[in-house]
């Protein structure tokens, strides 16, 4: 019994109308990595918010025992004092301050209110070294990648004496490489006897690092698996998460691929801010009718920049190159022209660039194709509601009505609203940039199904993803990008994880 650092007993948390947590028990051993896994809305984050004091003592029932003593946690400060640190999905760093300032924010190296900056940065450097981040501590946080910011968050947690580190979906917006670094860091910390609780969607990484895996579904802890004694295969975990066996994670499709729909020729793009920095080098590719074409690569390899520059030049400067549709050259200098030429682009940044969150479902669905439900510049409300309702039915968007504001929908349903918006413009080519990021297994399957339906109608889909398994599962053909160049093309059976990685690595070797 003494081995447990944390015991949460019969935790029940009610929200108006919902039981978010239902008598959940969670036992975490000293010095282990304990994974919490479950679909979106299953209650993982709520449980951690109870632990860290976001939901104070008294708003839930149950007991929290930390290092053998029952604790009353009323505020985040209380949990911090116990040595618990939580790193949320949305990072809590201040972009306009330096790394060093961020690490010691609210914990300044100060004497009588005067900050000692030398001490701050010396200590910060030591912490960065510990988390394996080679950055100057005077660099502003806004100038480093999300992956590195994640590391700064961990360094910040380590600047206090912590015993238990909670990470809420730390790798959701990281690429494979960055994710690996982070997971290795957790294993390092484990050696120093720091316990971690890892909330994640990504089964592979959980299986790789976790000692115990607790599966949460509908606010209840379904099971806890021991790495050494239980079956921790993906299938077994997924069965626990969704309550049934997902026989196939990708819907079946018989490819029916037609002629070339779009061709891009010698496409070059320069950075919009830094004049001489080329972002895309001489990219040439094509996509066929009825084809799902994948773009693989690491984050920052130029996939988003390439597709946004094609989509009405919404990214980049000094763009050169040609786009052909069915052999005829087209001009797509503005987003509107791109849409008129049948190109649609669904952004990776759902919340900040995909949706007008405070507007309702119907207004978001019709936004890009508003002319279609309008006559003489006046919106036909009946028609608009009908269109939106149809999409809700067809794409299975779970919302009380089309008048619901998008901010109130779950991420999976928000993504389906974005897809509806683009499908409504009647595209011939739909570019989907990370459409399944941060979405649970069930909604992912629905999005794959929608993609299959689109290509079955003879449309083309470009599928950008950082998760290789879904590219393998869905694509007819894959281009591999690295540092702004297309460095490989794989089709059919050639598409394997090894082949993709090989293409990336070989391009690096050439560059050296």
């Amino acid at each position: 019994m003494d081995n447990y650092i944390l015991q949460m007993e019969t935790i029940t948390k009610l929200f108006p109308g919902v039981k978010a947590l239902d008598t959940v028990n969670l036992n975490v051993l000293h010095g282990e990595i304990h994974a919490l896994i479950g679909e979106n809305g299953a209650g993982k984050s709520t449980l951690m918010n109870v632990l860290s004091g976001v939901y104070p003592h008294g708003t839930y029932t149950g007991k929290i025992i930390f290092e053998g003593k029952e604790c009353i946690i009323r505020h985040i400060r209380d949990s911090e004092r116990l040595g618990i640190a939580i790193i949320h999905q949305e990072l809590a760093l201040i972009p306009s301050l330096t790394i060093g300032e961020n690490i010691f924010l609210r914990n300044e190296c100060a004497h009588e209110g005067i900050i000692n900056w030398d001490e701050t940065h010396t200590k910060a450097r030591a912490l960065l070294k510990k988390v394996g981040l080679a950055e100057n501590t005077y660099t502003l946080v806004r100038d480093i990648s999300v992956g590195k910011q994640q590391m700064v968050e961990i360094a910040k947690a380590l600047s206090r004496k912590i015993k238990l580190l909670i990470l809420d979906e730390p790798t959701a917006s990281l690429n494979e490489n960055e994710s690996n670094n982070l997971l290795n860091l957790l294993l390092e910390l484990k050696k120093e006897n720091i316990t971690s609780i890892l909330i994640s969607h990504k089964l592979q990484e959980v299986i790789r690092v976790a000692d115990h895996i607790t599966v949460i579904r509908d606010g209840a802890a379904i099971m806890t698996l021991d790495k050494n004694s239980d079956d921790i295969s993906e299938d077994n975990i997924i069965r626990g998460m969704v309550g049934r066996r997902l026989t196939d994670r990708y819907p079946k499709r018989t490819p029916n691929i037609g002629g070339v729909a779009y061709t891009v020729d010698h496409w070059n793009v320069f950075d919009p801010m830094i004049a001489d920095k080329q972002v895309i080098y001489d990219a040439s590719f094509n996509v066929r009718k009825g084809e799902i074409l994948g773009f693989a690569g690491l984050m920052g390899s130029g996939r988003t920049e390439l597709s946004m520059s094609l989509f009405g030049r919404s990214y980049g400067k000094r763009i050169s190159g040609q786009i052909f549709k069915s052999g005829r050259e087209i001009q797509a200098h503005t987003v509107r022209q791109a849409i008129q030429n049948g190109i649609s682009y669904s952004t990776e940044d759902r919340k900040t660039a995909g949706l007008v969150l405070q507007n309702d479902v119907k207004e978001n669905i019709t936004l890009a194709g508003l002319q279609k439900v309008a006559r003489h510049g006046v919106v036909n409300s009946d028609e608009e509601i009908r269109v939106a309702s149809d999409f809700c039915k067809k794409l299975n968007i779970r919302t009380p009505s089309v008048f619901q504001k998008c901010v109130n929908l779950s991420v999976g349903n928000q993504q389906k609203v974005v897809l509806s918006k683009w499908i409504f413009t009647g595209p011939d080519l739909l570019i989907l940039d990370e459409p399944t990021r941060g979405i649970d297994v069930g909604a992912k399957y629905e999005i794959y199904t929608i993609m299959n339906e689109l290509v079955a109608e003879g449309k083309s889909v470009i599928f950008i993803s950082s998760e290789m398994p879904e590219l393998l599962g869905m694509c007819d053909r894959v281009y591999v990008m690295e540092e702004g160049r297309i460095v490989g093309e794989l089709s059919g059976k050639e598409i394997t994880q090894e082949a993709i990685i090989k293409a990336i690595l070989s391009s690096k070797r050439e560059a050296v």
Binding site: R336, V356, F403
Partner: protein
């Protein structure tokens, strides 16, 4: 009874400002011994606050489109008024030419400021702060610091005139035309509301409960009729009232029903998403500022007509009245929220406050104090009720 209380509780936020407005009217009606709602005073109230209504419409459009404000409208009012004065008084030009020129100048000033905001991306706050100085300076320059007066009678009639009683033919007793117009508006309102509810019902269960819907229709219909009766029992409908009503109806329709209106809301809600949806956001922003310039010219015509003088001091603090009215009426600093009707309710609220306190003999010092507090409390209450709605 319990269900009724629940009903009110669940829907009260929608009607907060309307309720506050009615409350303010009741309080002042009692405090002024019934002077506030005397037909003559209601007409005065509308005339006095005409500029707030007109400017608040333009300001609300800007606020919807991303929390933009225009600090220069007071100076534009003075500038356009000065030009009208020079044209009509110094050069004896006819009214219609002066009006056309006034509107054209409003358009040009709007376009000038819109260019800097939309295409050079200088923050609107800065551009219009500069505009405030520029146009105040130009006004003083044109008028050499002197006032020009008086204007011709047709100019004065814009604010002092009434729609003659076509039906009865003479202006004695109750103005029948006003009553008929009021009736027509009521009928159109009821038909529109029922139609809206009918088609909404086809697609959703969540809407205002039926009883409340009826209560709402009855109250508003009664308000329109009472208003019509009030105007009818004085001298009929003021011309200015028609101008304002047409503006409000047109802009409410424009913002809620047209493609361009939808783009304004979408851009205010999320500019990046709007851009990626094919909306030319620079163009939308440009026209919102142009629109404000034109409306400022309309306000200038009305104000100059009412004061019957082109003064270098005209229009001072008008921008603050319009901004206050918009925020009281539900605008958001971050854009994407608010309605034209909301702005009008906000403007009415300010108007009642102004007028009521004047009747009671409160000095401008006290009036400013109260208006400031009301603005602060109204927005604080809105934030409070929103965060409560989120928490529960």
């Amino acid at each position: 009874m319990g269900t009724f209380i629940n009903l009110v509780k669940n829907n009260i936020r929608q009607y907060t400002m309307v309720i506050a407005l009615i409350l303010a009217m009741v309080i002042f009606q009692i405090a002024t011994n019934g002077v506030l709602l005397l037909p003559m005073n209601v007409t005065t109230l509308i005339l006095q606050n005409a500029y707030v209504f007109i400017l608040a419409v333009g300001m609300m459009v800007l606020l919807i489109n991303g929390g933009n404000i225009d600090l220069s409208v007071g100076s534009i009012v003075a500038f356009v008024g000065a030009i009208m004065g020079v044209m009509m008084i110094t050069h004896k030009m006819p009214l219609w030419i002066a009006i056309v020129v006034a509107l054209a100048i409003g358009f040009l000033i709007g376009a000038w400021q819109a260019y800097w905001v939309a295409y050079v991306r200088v923050p609107g706050f800065i551009v219009t702060l500069a505009g405030q100085l520029i146009f105040r300076g130009l006004t003083n320059n044109i008028l050499s610091g002197q006032s020009l007066a008086p204007f011709s009678r047709d100019m004065v009639a814009i604010s002092a005139g009434f729609i003659p009683d076509f039906i009865r033919g003479n202006n004695q007793g109750i103005n029948i035309t006003a009553m008929v117009l009021g009736m027509l508006v009521t009928i159109v309102y009821i038909i529109l509301q029922i139609r809206k509810r009918m088609y909404r019902r086809k697609y959703t269960e969540e809407m205002v409960p039926f009883q409340l819907f009826i209560v709402q229709i009855v109250i508003i219909a009664a308000l329109i009729m009472v208003c019509a009766y009030w105007l009818a029992s004085y001298e009929g409908i003021p011309i200015i009232f028609i101008i304002i009503a047409v503006l409000v109806a047109a802009y409410q329709y424009f913002t809620s029903k047209t493609v361009s209106g939808r783009y304004i809301y979408a851009m205010g809600g999320n500019e990046k998403a709007a851009q990626l949806s094919g909306i030319n956001t620079n163009k939308v922003l440009f026209w919102c500022y142009v629109n404000m310039g034109v409306l400022a010219a309309v306000a200038a015509i009305v104000t100059t007509s009412r004061l019957d003088v082109a003064s270098p001091l005209a229009g001072q603090n008008y921008e603050l009245d319009a901004i206050s009215a918009s925020f009281i009426g539900g605008a958001s600093m971050y854009g994407g929220a608010g309605t034209i009707v909301g702005a009008i309710i906000g403007a009415l609220f300010m108007g009642v406050l102004n007028n009521g306190m004047s009747i009671l003999g409160a000095g401008t010092d006290i009036q400013m104090l109260i208006k400031g507090l009301v603005l602060l409390l109204a927005v604080a209450f809105d934030i409070f009720s929103k965060s409560r709605a989120k928490a529960s």
